[in-house]
């Protein structure tokens, strides 16, 4: 039996305005979703061209969830997004050319070729770089929120995890600690229903991952992760609550991973009907239709956004391809930090 609250879809334009988004914001959200998908589509092309070493991971189907949550964050908030959350990086303002440079292992990627894929983050944008061991970033984000609580700053930390990683102890320990201390942290579960090839019924025995929240002493909510406005509203509510001292919330964004675990995986184990059903609620198409119906997005506006994104990505690709490969002579640099390395926006 479900314990978590099941969020309703956004009912009206009025409700969206109440939640803090005007027409221009809404078009911006759409643009960010388009960039998010565009970056990953271009990534596929780069991979096929043999320009991406290693493997390649995307978050197709998760664009509304990632952009929706990130849109609700304040400038001073921080987060640790994962490999299905490109939309968080885009919404926070990372330049796509640096993402392409990262994909290709170039010197101008945020990790300068030292790590690949979406294992990157710009701390200047309030983001913390993920590791592969999911959900290790949960306790780290809890620690960020602990710092805010100790300093009594009105800031919130966002921690992402998948329904697969919800099985690991880091989830339990992070939520236990955050719950006992009512820390200003919001846990976001990207439930895309497949942990590599493992279905949800082999990952957890409750109806929802968010049902667990009650056991940790805070609210759990399940939201349709293809509905960017519902995700935004729930994230905003949870972030506002955390900021006001109300403690954590667990938001579960339900989606379907629309591609394999990574580029090498054809996801043969996902029933075809499942893909067909979820393709009907494609996050981008869904929001595009909503914008045309509710805020009268015109053909011209849509074309302008579309062509702007296309140009942004074309330029970004060109710039990234011009980025040099990293210099192996620098390999040993920076294993240990120097005192002056602490001069980051956060360490000050």
């Amino acid at each position: 039996m479900a314990v978590a609250r099941e969020a309703e879809p956004v009912g009206s334009l009025h409700e969206v305005r109440e939640a803090g988004l005007d027409r221009e914001d809404l078009l911006g959200v759409y643009r960010n979703m388009l960039i998010t998908r565009g970056v990953e589509e271009r990534g596929h092309i780069l991979y096929r061209q043999g320009k991406i070493p290693g493997s390649f991971y995307t978050g197709r189907g998760n664009e509304a969830a990632s952009v929706g949550v990130a849109t609700a964050m304040a400038q001073e908030d921080v987060g640790a997004p994962l490999h299905r959350d490109m939309g968080v990086h885009i919404t926070r303002g990372v330049e796509p050319w640096r993402i392409f440079a990262q994909y290709m292992g170039r010197a101008d990627g945020p990790t300068r070729g030292r790590d690949g894929n979406v294992h990157m983050a710009d701390p200047n944008l309030g983001l913390i770089a993920m590791v592969s061991h999911l959900p290790a970033m949960l306790p780290v984000a809890v620690g960020a929120s602990l710092a805010f609580r100790i300093r009594e700053e009105p800031r919130v930390a966002l921690a992402w995890f998948g329904e697969g990683a919800s099985a690991r102890g880091d989830t339990h320990e992070g939520m236990t600690f955050a719950g006992t201390r009512k820390l200003p942290v919001v846990f976001v579960c990207d439930n895309n229903q497949w942990a590599y090839s493992t279905p949800t019924y082999l990952e957890y025995a409750t109806e929802h991952v968010a049902d667990r929240a009650q056991a940790y002493g805070f609210e759990g909510v399940v939201v349709d992760g293809t509905d960017v406005l519902a995700v935004y509203r729930e994230a905003k509510r949870a972030i506002d609550k955390a900021r006001a001292g109300g403690g954590p919330t667990l938001i579960e964004c339900l989606t379907l991973r629309m591609e394999g675990h990574a580029v090498h995986d054809d996801a043969f184990y996902v029933p075809k009907v499942m893909f067909e059903k979820w393709a009907e609620s494609d996050p981008l198409e869904r929001f595009r239709t909503w914008l045309r119906t509710n805020v009268d997005m015109t053909d011209d506006e849509e074309d302008e956004i579309g062509s702007g994104v296309k140009k942004l990505l074309n330029d970004a690709l060109q710039r990234a391809e011009g980025s040099p490969m990293p210099d192996p002579n620098d390999l040993l640099d920076g294993v240990y930090a120097a005192v002056e390395d602490l001069e980051t926006p956060h360490h000050k």
Partner: protein, 324 residues
Amino acid sequence: MAELTYLQAISDALRIEMRRDKRVFLIGEDVGVYGGAFKVSLGFQEEFGPWRVIDAPLAETAIVGACTGASMMGLRPVAEMQFADFVSCAWDHLVTVAAKQRWRAGTPVPIVVRLPSGGGFSGGPFHSQNPESTFAHIPGLKCVCPATPEDAKGLLISSIEDPNPVLFFEHKHLYRRIKGDVPEERYTVPIGKARTHRLGTDVSVITWGAMVYTAEEAAQQVENDGVSVEILDLRSVMPWDKAAVLDSVRKTSKVLVLHEDNRTGGFGAEIAATIAEEAFEDLDAPVKRIAAPDTPVPFSPPLEKAFIPQVDDVVAGLRDLAAY
């Protein structure tokens, strides 16, 4: 100068840093109301409050992970593992996150994890280990192992100042057994500089932590036989003072590497290999290692005595080397 125990020196360092730097906080199991399992932080919560002396749930992953996150936001966390053995539950957060974050993502992680380590009082397999070599193997981590009260204070202050994740191994058997003069003011001891514990000319002992005292007793015994022993206390195994080791080896030409950790893959192996590579021509005898056998740490006193290197073992080793 005041005479302090090794434990009091650690408390003193932590108190000084928490008084002078509001960014420093302590988190661990039972560190607040109870003052820590060994009472290192006794009275701290009264002075600094519950948000700077944080009683955490029994969750080492959350403790070290939270320290990492808080350090990225500008704080200087000090975590206490109740026993060094339990750091295995936080392995991922030290090795996977904290150690690599600076190198790959450019974000320093200035945290200190305090680890009451070592055996000698029937703690058994899970309350006696010396896991320093395990972490010394991981690029990005520092491993500090003080032997004296003066070093314990100065090295803990250096560790808190350090912009990297530092594992601070506090030998439990030294906590109340070892006393020494400790300057009352704040001072630092640089991480990575060895200390010559005893000057000698015939054999060098390279060691750290509680084994410094085992080596000292053994050195006094063989002195009567006319064997002059030099003891080098490394103070930290990562970084380790290679230059000081090689200098001492060149001076005595015979070397005994001594540690309380298991023999195979213990940090002594790295030291021995380095001596073989860089000072082979200076040696008059093969490098000798004395370490714990490759078993878990046993509980019962006669078994534990057979496990932890004893003065007699070191005496025998020194005599072998002297006679070579």
